[in-house]
Point group: D2
């Protein structure tokens, strides 16, 4: 296939990250960008990067036969319409997570993808993090045996603003969805039952939005293995992203990434700098790698590494967690969209 | 008070540890030991340590007015009778955990202690571990703010034998009871609701005994803080005892203790030795310290650091966890024996 | 000044790294490349990157007034002639380390730079490493007081080939020169006396080349502070690059960088992967940063961060070390070229 | 041999430590103590521990045939006379380091020991530290190949008082002598040449006493391996005791010991407590172990683990270092007392 020509839908922060990452690869060319707020500044930004087509509506360039793939980086509520549009146009699709906040809509999107015979990769960027990849490798190698307990800590350095919270879909769909995917990724297993507890301890605005800011979820996997995820919207010391898998033959765990390895010894104790502050710093390389893998898979005709079913399963887990929190009891995870 | 004269009930492994620790302190003197299996070997062992009274029945020396305190190190099902006996004799009591496996019996024991006006310390030795004490200090200092999430990992290097399992009271009463106490200790909070999941992944013998070998419990505290405990009966790399408290102002976590700090670098990677193997190695100093504190409190007329109510609360949490596992749903923790 | 137009002399591995790093910055443009072995492959490689001028001889484009700066990435014995050529043409210069292996020639080069009024930055890339920068910051902040002891470990994963060794100038000029610069950088002090010991322990080829493969140098600084550098040509576990500064108010040390933070626990111990393998992995970001700083300083009319005097001092230290090893006694470091 | 009866010469801090450690072992009995400042307080302290013979002069009990071994814990300048006295009486001897500050006197002492056919163990307690023992084991196992570089850091938390400094024999004989022994112990090699540099950076009192407070020594071993030792009299963050051996097949290094493993994360960074403060905390177990090994070797008729020749070699290294510092050049280490 040689170079893959790509169109980008949504030129916000994450859209621009993908553009810059794609331009650093040898085998991708960004040829078009759309954004409803496209203005002269965006046009100039794009021109400096050799991108000539900048539109408000992706439909204007979607039928360009030179374009083989699109990146959907627009707000979540537009993902499904854009997936249908791109699939109908025969484009391969990279879509940010979650596909949608309604599994029925996600199912429709996956149906469209399947019918069109195109590939869909979901933006679970953490699978491409150097630390979590190493966990996956170790678990897959069998060195630590059968997974028994999977522990995931995921805490943000500071909460988002109220408007973001209101439209976020809640902590499980917005934040913990990454961890649901991680739990599946590192364990290689599917969730059967999910039990959630949650509290508002960081900021009362979460309660006003019908959300929680602190949440713990327990997952029972088919094998009997148990998963634990803890989320907080505010860790004052910075982004806390750790995973541990304990198995019959041992355990593997990863610590956070730090900006340097310096240890400072004074009369007051031994000190090091805080972890990398947030996702842009921590997952910088992971964003580049997920785009690289997507393009490489298309170029070589291979299956993309995180597909629509992966997106669906994480959403089903998020829905179960939300329901468990509401009902105050464990809730079964629907095993597939067919069960919908 | 000067030197405290002590009698020891039960001269098994833990009884002997307490005797040797007490003899290293300046202000305690072990004057009597009882054990239903007392034999010549025990008599000799005691004689070498200057202990002249060795009996099969503690009742033989319980009324000796010189004895001010007793250590109850006998099997769990004998704790309550011995507490009643010692309380009636006006002795202060150090009792191994749990007080009993029936909260109603524990309540009776506490009643007897209260009526006699003696002190009762329960053997939650981990509160005296250097690492966990440091967590408690940091939390108490307010440096990390209000606790939001408490995470406790507690895994044994290898499972006990079948006969032990059968009479153990189950994983929550036998093993996780330490962690229930730890959760209360480091958070300074009381549990409201407990939710347990468990599996048999290590050895089918646990299933045959009506028990599980892998368990995860979620605790909702009164403040909204959330606790997570994970237990496994078999961590092949050794005793895994870690605690982490995450709060509004930061976090504090402790790693395991290791036999040395050597890092060995070869072509195959960087390696260190496994953690201290089991509780006798890891909590060696903690056992000495709990005895030292008990004696010091008696000598100085202060309240002992882990009392009967602490013992009761941990048992109530263990009962709630067992019930939650049985019912498959969260269960409220009875707030006190009054609710029994 | 806006965008700085740059010519590159020498298109080997390090030349290409600089080209790619410069192209990632917004304010630099590589417009010409020269290499005596320039061929069609290089021409094509350059063309793909928008570089139109590719010559065998830098003189062909050196007088292009559009070019403001050159990067000298050719073999060490060509550095001085190219510096003179570039200085005469009024270009600012980035030159790889060492400037030359003869301090008298280095002095001539610095003279030419001074006469031309251009800037010269020497490629001591390690000053731009995130870890060593943090050490420098901590020392400069005064937090650890006056430096007393500076310890630098620098070990390569495997020795170079015989032809490289023969023309390398020896371990002090080729390898330890980085550490001499580091010692000055982190301590902020000048060396007064140097004492070297060395052995051939890795490969007898070093002896055949009149060199050593294992060397330790002690540096006495003007303040009385003492520096220690240890070098080995072969650390089987990978690139070992650590620095520690001990001072009157504390200490700061950095560990190596690792590819991930995973710790793998099995019956055999706790293991992690080896450090990043060699300089391309470890100093990847440092190379980018030194080029970024060079361009930024030119664009903003500031002094470049590592100048010719820095290059000279490190060479004087390397010469003193070589002489010390030969004589078997401490040797004073000539304080400046004026002393030559 | 059964229980070894022991007399103690010198009841200062270290003498009392040995007494208490010996009393915790099953196979040693302390029967006599001498100290020129023996008073009622010491008599009482001894009586509480069952020691009936307390004299001002060791000669009073030295001929007691029941006593098989003596511990010499008196000031250094009395070591040789007491060794001669004890040897003449046929007692095995444990002597604190250094044997003396004059190698000729040390030689006389060793001669007396040899003539009497008794055993002499020198108090290089650090050989019994859990960390350094692990280094020795790894090196001896061959896992890291032939040693190439040995690095020893040894820094005290605060300098001694002036009177101590004046009679200490200087930093090499008083402080670095432990590290000279450590270099021999972990490498298994003998020093050929020693080169020392030193400064007064901590306190001018050292200069007034003809001493330095900061010193770095380079050791050339017979195999070509190189040793580096750095000493400081004042590390504000506490006792800094680290050793690293780098070899043809890898490396092994140990970090300090810490009072706990707690990591505290706040907005200001990640912090842990300082290392164990000084030798009593750090080498608590090592002191016990060296006494245990001494007694066990006597009881079982084995060679003691650190003998007179070990004491001599470390003194010869200290003398060479002092001479190197004085002369400003490397100095050969006399290979044995025969060379005296």
């Amino acid at each position: 296939m040689g170079t893959i020509k790509v169109g980008i839908i949504g030129a916000g922060r994450i859209g621009k990250i993908h553009i810059e990452n794609l331009q650093r690869q040898g085998n991708a060319e960004v040829v078009a960008v759309s954004d409803p707020f496209a203005d002269e500044a965006l046009r100039q930004w794009a021109a400096e990067r050799g991108i000539r087509t900048v539109t408000k509506d992706a439909a204007e360039w979607m039928d360009d036969p030179a374009i083989q793939a699109v990146f959907i980086c627009s707000p979540t509520d537009t993902h499904v319409p854009f997936i249908k549009l791109a699939a109908a146009a025969g484009k391969h699709i990279f879509c940010e997570k979650p596909i949608s906040m309604e599994v029925s809509q996600t199912a429709e999107a996956l149906e469209a993808v399947k019918a069109a015979g195109v590939q869909l990769q979901v933006g679970f960027n953490r699978r491409f993090d150097h630390n979590f990849k190493r966990i996956k490798e170790i678990v897959s190698s069998g060195e630590i045996g059968q997974p028994h307990i999977v522990k995931i800590t995921s805490r943000d350095p500071s909460p988002p603003g109220e408007s973001y919270i209101r439209s976020s879909g809640g902590i499980f769909m917005d934040m913990m969805i990454h961890d649901f995917d991680m739990a599946r990724y590192v364990s290689g297993e599917e969730a059967v039952t999910i039990s959630a507890v949650g509290s508002v301890l960081v900021d009362p605005v979460f309660e006003q939005c019908g959300d929680v800011d602190t949440a713990v979820v327990t997952i029972q996997f088919a094998s009997g293995a148990i998963g634990i995820i803890d989320n907080s919207r505010k860790a004052v010391y910075g982004y806390d992203q750790r995973v541990e898998v304990f198995g019959s033959g041992g355990a593997v765990g990863v610590n956070n990434d730090y900006p340097n390895t310096a240890e400072i010894h004074t009369e007051d104790g031994v000190r090091r700098d805080n972890p990398l502050h947030f996702f842009l710093e921590r997952y910088n390389e992971a964003y580049a790698d997920e785009a690289r893998q997507f393009i490489a898979c298309l170029a070589e005709g291979r299956q993309v590494p995180v597909n629509g079913e992966d997106g669906m399963q994480a959403e089903l887990m998020a829905c179960a967690a939300a329901e468990s929190l509401r009902l105050g009891r464990p809730v079964p995870v629907k095993l597939s969209i067919a069960a919908e």
